[in-house]
Point group: none
Chain length 401, copies 2
């Protein structure tokens, strides 16, 4: 497989424009009654037109049989091998709440929990306290400073929070304090390398001070930390692809992932219409636009087949505005499948379409799982999407002579 370093040598900037529309969790499974997937059920005249004029295929986000999370699924679409470019759990939690992260930050997922008099965990979720209460408690813990490391504590939802450790030399090579079981004591955070000893002692001191602060706040009288992860130091899309990329994503997690690869995050409303307005408004300032639609995935996770169909149709209705902008390359696909019948992400390959004047169209006339299988792109890894997009936008030079 060609790597980022090789692509970097081949790419040259051009005025041509690429739009990557990710309909999260788009891939589905047949409804038991009709035998048709969500996408096959939806009326999608505009997607069908793009499929007819374009070239189609099926992509594997991570690999055959592998159910992809949102982060690896997106990183693959952005051209970053998700088996190499890993975003740790604590960092994903921080990205998911739009936390203003800086290079060098280390984030951990936190739980408020309940311990008894002898220090054993009796409830890992402190009775699932309200998000409101979580916010109040986070304020009590937020802003400690130890040996030049600031600790920033932000609520996520119910008992969950994020702790961000910011300061010189705080390494993420740390074990969890959360033993993941009740009836045990919280663990000391241990260093996985000698250089992380200082970080471990700071993390343990933070936990001790938090315990002291929370003493009177039963049932939330202790914290558990896990998934220490550093802010990813990935090469930026501007460096490897010579692109000026922009992200138009209403959900924090996807904005965060976009920032990690160096996209500019543009302000946008929540609807597809509003996202397309943002594209139109900034069309001349960027040459790569990542648009993210979340509601298909949510409907899939909820097992709501009909709603997923509706959201797909809503996206389709908005498409003419995008097509009218006449970008050189339009790609429509997803980060993974989320079949309503499975109520969750799945391993099934994802329908893919690319429309450009140079794409060598195939015989696909409908954008659906069934038809994309016979598309001329065949089945291919999601990491091939970016080279394909760049090629169709005439941004890649010849390899060798």
């Amino acid at each position: 497989m060609i790597g980022l370093d090789q692509i970097r040598e081949l790419v040259s900037p051009t005025p041509s424009k690429i739009v990557l529309l990710v309909i999260d969790g788009l891939g589905g499974l047949p409804h038991p009654e009709t035998g048709r997937t969500e996408l096959e059920n939806a009326k999608t005249p505009n997607l069908d037109r793009l499929a007819r004029e374009g070239i189609c295929g099926m992509i594997d986000p991570v690999g055959s049989g592998i159910t992809s999370g949102s982060a690896p699924g997106h990183l693959a679409l952005f051209g970053y091998d998700p088996l190499t470019f890993i975003v740790g759990r604590g960092m994903l939690e921080a990205l998911g709440i739009d936390f203003e992260l800086k290079a060098g930050d280390v984030a951990a997922r936190g739980n408020f929990c309940t311990i008894d008099g002898s220090g054993l965990i009796t409830d890992r979720r402190a009775g699932r306290l309200s998000t409101q209460r979580c916010s109040e408690l986070c304020q009590l813990l937020d802003g400690m400073n130890m040996e030049g490391v600031a600790i920033l504590v932000s609520p996520v939802r119910e008992h969950r929070f994020v702790a961000v450790f910011r300061g010189e030399g705080f390494l993420s090579a740390l074990g969890d304090s959360d033993p993941q079981r009740e009836g045990l004591s919280p663990r000391d955070v241990i260093a996985h390398s000698p250089r992380a000893e200082k970080a471990a002692s700071i993390a343990n001191e933070f936990i001790a001070q938090s315990r002291a602060t929370l003493a009177d706040h039963y049932p939330a009288n202790m914290v558990l930390l896990r998934g220490f992860a550093h802010y990813p130091d990935f090469p930026k899309m501007s460096e490897v692809f010579s692109l000026k990329p922009a992200a138009i994503a209403p959900y924090p997690m996807y904005r965060g992932l976009a920032k990690v690869v160096g996209m500019e995050v543009l302000p946008t409303g929540a609807t597809v219409e509003e996202q397309l307005s943002a594209v139109a408004e900034h069309y001349n300032s960027y040459d790569f636009f990542f648009l993210h639609v979340k509601e298909t995935d949510i409907a899939g996770e909820d097992g709501d087949f009909a709603r997923k169909v509706m959201v797909i149709e809503e996206v389709d209705r908005a498409l003419p505005r995008l097509i009218d902008l006449d970008p050189d390359v339009i790609i429509v696909t997803a980060d993974h499948s989320t079949p309503a019948v499975l109520k969750g992400h799945s391993w099934h390959p994802v329908p893919f379409l690319l429309c450009s004047k140079l794409c060598r169209p195939d015989g696909v006339v409908e954008f659906s799982e069934r038809d994309c299988v016979s598309g001329a792109l065949g089945r291919f890894p999601a990491t091939d999407v970016m080279p394909l997009a760049l090629a169709n936008a005439l941004k890649l030079k010849k390899f060798g002579a």
Copy 2:
């Protein structure tokens, strides 16, 4: 992917014969008026018959979205991963003029250029002198000898020449003297490793002596060198595939690439008919024949859709002679696409057919981009072609037990 070392363990020689017919740049794009590619436009009853009796697919020479040069495209077809087996620019230039290269040779691309009184480059191409004049000047520089290294200078075209450095310990880890811009002085050739210091000083001495020799030959009063590259030390096809391979290629570059992988180069005329005569004449002496047709690529580069169609039809008309020889495996494909509408190489996958008695035929009835997409081989990397050829020729043993 299975590597050469693994293939080597599996292969055993047999009398069976393989013919690889490369129709350079065969893959195309639809003509704007007809919607049909060059190959789809051409009347090709014999290719269609092979497609019907054989098995088809689409190959990627280097990778998705990557536009392959001729060298990587051919190396991939010969079974050599083009991301690993690199032929440097200077060496390609030498191969392209049929220069008699030896193991250990280092070649650089040369330009005659013009410098002014203060040594600054005023014209990197010395007014694009004639090829005739280039030849005369090359004779003035040819045959210098320094510290046991002979320097052989041969004309290419217009202002371009090749300098071959032949002698013990001349390494190619050298920088360019060509600054690639006018208004600058030529650079000193620098060594990229301490062991290349001697080579750098010889190269600089060659440049200095050339300058002295050319002093009265304004505008060609200086030389520029770039792309120092050593003769590739690749494993030979006889070693890795236990084949006795022959190349029948009228163009120097392809003969050169064939030699690099250890093929015997057979004399041939320029037409497909004459190439097939050469196959017939030497049929009993070899078990692998590489035939190369260049004119499709030239027509594609020229943007001449109709001529590319004509050349394809000409190849098709000659095919019965090949089929009558009844080789065990016939493969027809290309090193890359060269769509006439793009006037250059492109990233589009290449139609592929393999015909053998054991190939498990698919439903493809016409040799075309459109039909090959639905071929049973699907879309696959060009480096898989050789293992497939060897298997169909019953030259590969079982892997494992």
